[in-house]
């Protein structure tokens, strides 16, 4: 095992610690705006941006468990499903309801926020339930429990009439917008960054490095692990809720363990423990398939082979994953953050050690 760089307390940070979590979003926004401008059509750009945002939330939240705490959860899609279905059902129930003291549009947003939070809370409750076995289970055994839990959720949804069974829920109000998605991206990034630098976060890092040693140093390992799970599943639930409100149809097929794997891939590709890495990987892996689509469009005219093989994108995606991991086994940024690996000509914050 390599020793990953632990976050080192700086003497005089360039960016105030309270704003550090904001920085990536501030950096990302102009990029996204440029991207949106390049894409032209606003509908497609906002859809793609929403997908990207949801993936960022998922990756950053999973990174708290898999990256910072060193646990291994591969059931993130299950928590996402809980959030998506609970908030989706709630929104369907509240579809005809409005708050009298607000204009309709504002009331819809308030109700949407409410159902998001309920979905997130439900997912967090499930996260607590799954976190409990981590009292006893280690490593891969915990992984398989999270995977099993995710699959159980899918089966439950598939057999429940009020969740629409195989057809899924459709007709969910299209209440989500990129602004709302990125508000939550902002929150999760801020929370994850603040967590990483806090004493909570240092306990999590300690658990990741050596659970026994952490325990010996007085870290309540069980408590911290369960809390990490609750934190991560809450945001996964929120991501699911957002997802349900812009697609806006949800179906058990969208929350299989393959989906969980895709999120794990984002976290590992970004570098375990690196929040900005998770963000960059999520952005990259969301854009990759669409980029291939654009490439194919440019390559051939309608009816030619390049136009007939849209489905070749998934095998290419798989091969690229292998190549990327071989090229950068520690992930894009390792455990570091974006600013730690930026080229030297950019202003770097001063570091006390290392």
């Amino acid at each position: 095992m390599q020793t990953p760089a632990l976050p080192v307390p700086e003497s005089r940070p360039l960016v105030p610690p309270s704003l550090r979590g904001v920085a990536p979003v501030v950096v990302a926004l102009p990029v996204l705006a440029l991207f949106q401008w390049l894409l032209g059509g606003a509908d497609f750009a906002s859809y793609l941006l929403s997908v990207m945002g949801v993936n960022i939330i998922l990756a950053v939240s999973l990174n708290v468990v898999n990256g910072m705490t060193g646990q291994f959860s591969i059931g993130h899609a299950g928590f996402m499903a809980v959030g998506a279905y609970i908030s989706g059902v709630l929104s369907l129930q509240l579809k005809e309801v409005a708050l009298s003291f607000l204009p309709v549009a504002a009331s819809d947003q308030v109700l949407f926020m409410l159902s998001l939070l309920v979905g997130g809370a439900a997912a967090a409750a499930c996260g607590f339930l799954v976190g409990l076995p981590s009292l006893r289970l280690r490593g891969d055994y915990l992984a398989i429990v999270t995977l099993g839990f995710g699959e159980i959720i899918r089966v439950v949804v598939q057999n429940t009439d009020s969740f629409g069974r195989a057809l899924g829920l459709s007709g969910i109000p299209q209440a989500s917008s990129p602004a709302m998605v990125y508000f939550w991206v902002f929150l999760v990034v801020l929370a994850a960054r603040r967590l990483a630098g806090s004493s909570h976060g240092r306990s999590l890092w300690a658990i990741r490095e050596d659970e026994v040693a952490a325990e010996a140093m007085g870290v309540d390992t069980t408590g911290y692990k369960v809390r990490a799970f609750v934190f991560s599943s809450f945001f996964a639930g929120i991501a699911g809720g957002l997802f349900a409100h812009f697609v806006p149809i949800i179906n058990p097929g969208s929350f299989t363990f393959v989906r969980s794997m895709e999120i794990v891939v984002m976290v590992v590709l970004g570098g375990l423990g690196s929040t900005t890495g998770a963000i960059v990987a999520a952005i990259f892996l969301t854009l990759l398939p669409e980029g291939m689509r654009s490439l194919f469009s440019a390559l051939g005219t309608e009816g030619s082979l390049a136009q007939r093989v849209d489905q070749i994108r998934m095998p290419i995606y798989g091969v690229l994953l292998v190549v990327l991991m071989l090229a950068r086994p520690q992930g894009l940024f390792g455990s570091k953050e974006l600013w730690d690996v930026l080229p030297r000509w950019l202003p770097r914050k001063r570091r006390g050690l290392a």
Binding site: R136, I144, E151, G318, M325
Partner: protein, 306 residues
């Protein structure tokens, strides 16, 4: 009663096949501590190799004993080679890197194979399920009552092949020099290397062995259920992985017991409870086992060194 017996036979039939796939998971996990998520897809590739061979042999030749042997040999050797290539180029370069890294390449390979085989370009088979050619002509081996219980020849043959492979594996692991090397690598591959064990070769051979077993299991599966498709590896692979964990991943007899138990649990849930809940019960059972025995039925929780 007759129905119970029939369910028992069905459950054991699925269980033996899960067992062979689970053995592959467990062996690779044993030496590398890697959950080889591409294992199910390697199995799928093996099945298609067998499919192509059976077709090349033609209707007459493939139904003979020699034909069956050729189909199995081609698929298992081909798959062993394939497993070797995967290990050499996708896993070995990452040997000293964090474990999760190799997991991602495994996922990448799994995606590339399962989606790649759905393409209908060139030699790739396309998404449509295919009927696996009859290499063993199904005949009833035993009939009780008015077909209340039917045992088929291929069920017996599969069981024999599966048991044979398992016994062979058990001997290989516990009775040969190579097996001792494997167990040493599994214990600690750095120390094993210091003791003069060629770890790279042992790991490569383990991979080839597990891939060949997967191909054999896949062929038995294809003979049993007659349908092959590019996504079959995903479903079977997941179940076999669960079986390996129930038994205690890394533990050879444990994988077999876990697989048989899982096969029976699934069969009885469908037969006597609600078929819609089969997968949920399978995973619920897994979680239950792990809560009671955190290392699986036979696995040990490694003593922690402080």
């Amino acid at each position: 009663m007759a129905q119970l017996l029939q369910h028992l036979i069905n459950g054991l039939a699925s269980g033996t096949i899960y067992a062979l796939v689970a053995l592959g998971y467990t062996m690779v996990y044993g030496v590398l501590k890697l959950i080889n998520f591409a294992h199910g897809d390697v199995m799928m590739v093996g099945v298609y190799m067998g499919y192509a061979t059976a077709f090349a042999l033609g209707r007459e030749a493939r139904a003979s004993l020699l034909g069956v042997a050729v189909v199995f040999a081609v698929a298992m050797l081909g798959c062993a080679l394939f497993g070797f290539l995967i290990e050499r180029f996708a896993y070995r370069p990452l040997r000293e890197k964090p474990r999760l890294t190799a997991l991602i390449t495994a996922i990448g390979i799994s995606f590339a194979l399962s989606y790649g085989f759905q393409l209908d370009i060139g030699f790739l088979p396309g998404a449509s399920p295919r009927a696996f050619p009859e290499i063993i002509t199904p005949t009833e081996w035993l009939i009780i009552g008015d077909r209340d219980v039917v045992v088929w020849n291929w069920q017996v043959i599969s069981l024999l092949i599966a048991v044979g492979l398992m016994v062979g594996l058990q001997y290989l692991v516990f009775g040969t020099r190579f097996g001792r090397a494997m167990r040493a690598v599994s214990w600690d591959h750095r120390v094993a290397a210091l003791m003069g064990i060629p770890t790279d070769r042992v790991i490569a051979l383990t991979f080839m062995l597990s891939s060949a077993l997967a191909a054999g299991a896949g062929l038995l599966y294809a003979i049993k259920d007659t349908s092959v498709s590019p996504l079959m590896g995903l479903y079977v692979g997941l179940k076999a992985f669960v079986a390996a964990v129930i038994g205690g991943i890394g533990h050879v007899p444990g994988a077999v017991v876990g697989a048989l138990v899982l096969g029976l649990v699934e069969e009885f849930v469908v037969g006597y409870a609600a078929s819609t809940w089969r997968d949920a019960v399978a995973f619920g059972f897994l979680i239950l086992v792990l809560l009671v025995k955190p290392g699986g039925l036979f696995g040990r929780v490694a003593a922690e060194k402080v």
